[in-house]
Amino acid sequence: MRLTQSVAGTMPVFNRTIFGTGSVSMSATELKVDRKNIATLVLSPTVSSIAKLAQLEANWDNCGSARPEPAAIQRARTLVEGFYRFAGAAGAVTSQWSPPHISASEDGEVVMEWWHNAHKLTVYVSGTTAQYLKVWGPNITTQMEDGLLEGNQFQGLWLWLNA
C-alpha cells in the first residue's frame, strides 16, 4: 500500500537520509512513502546483525555460551519488525527509531539492547518467548523490572526508554 504524507507529517521513525532511494519519491510539497520498503531499509542493518548470529559456534564468547538458537534468530527477525511499527506508533511523543544492539545470551537467546540516557531496555528472544528487562540503575531490586513481552507491550517500553 502506498501512503502519501505531507512533509510536516513525516513519521519521525523514518531516517531522512534514505529519502531519495527507489522506495520514496519527493515533490516540493509532499512525500510518497512506501511504508513497507522504508521499514525494510531502516531495519536492514538490524536484520543483518541478527542473521549473522547464525554463524556463531558454541563458546563464541570464550565463556562457554551456547550457539544462538536458530528458532530464536528467526523469531527475533520477525519481532523486530513489530517493534519498529510499535515505535512508529509511539513516534508522536518520542525520538526516532534507533536500532538495537544485537547479541546473544549464554542460553542461545537473541539479545536486543537499547540505551537512552539513564534508561536501558533489553529484550531476550528465545524460540518460544520474548522477555523484557528495564534498567534505570544498578539496584536489582528497585531499579530493574522484567517480564514477558506480549502483544503491543513494546510500545509502552519504547515510550519509557525515551522518556
Binding site: D61, C63, H101, A104, V111, E113, G137, I140, M144
Partner: protein, 144 residues
Amino acid sequence: LVSDDEQLYRSVRNETQFFKTVDGAVRFSNTCFNDPAGKVSVDRANLRNSAEETKFSPSDGIIKLLARDIRDIGPIPNPDGGDGYLIDVHPRPIPADNPDGLPENLSHAQIEASPDFTNPSRFKKLKEALALLADGNGWFIAPS
C-alpha cells in the same frame, strides 16, 4: 579472600556483540558477562603481572571492576524467603594440572551468588548491574 579494594579484570572480545558507542561513550552489553553457570570469571589484578595476561586474544579489551562495587550489588531479596542472595567475589584459582585442561591461572576468581540463583532472570539482572559498573569505568585497555 578477595578484599573490597581489589581490582578485577575481565577480557572483552573486540567483536560487535560486546559493546557499542552511544553518544560518545562506550556501553557494554550484558553479553560481556555471559556465563552458563551463572558465575562470572574475573582475574584478580594484584595476582597478574599485567592486565594483558587476562586477554584471550591480543585484540581483546579489558574492563576493570572493584570488588566492593560488585558486593554492593547485593543482597537481592529472595521471594522464597531467607536472607536473600549475596553477591560476592570468590578466589577460584585454576591449577596447572586441572582436569578441564584449562591454562593455569592462579588469579582466577568468580562473581557468585549465594545461594545459587534458581531463576535465570536474576542472573540476567546481575549481568545488567555488572555492565552498568563497566559503563561507569569505561575501558581499562581498549580493544585493538
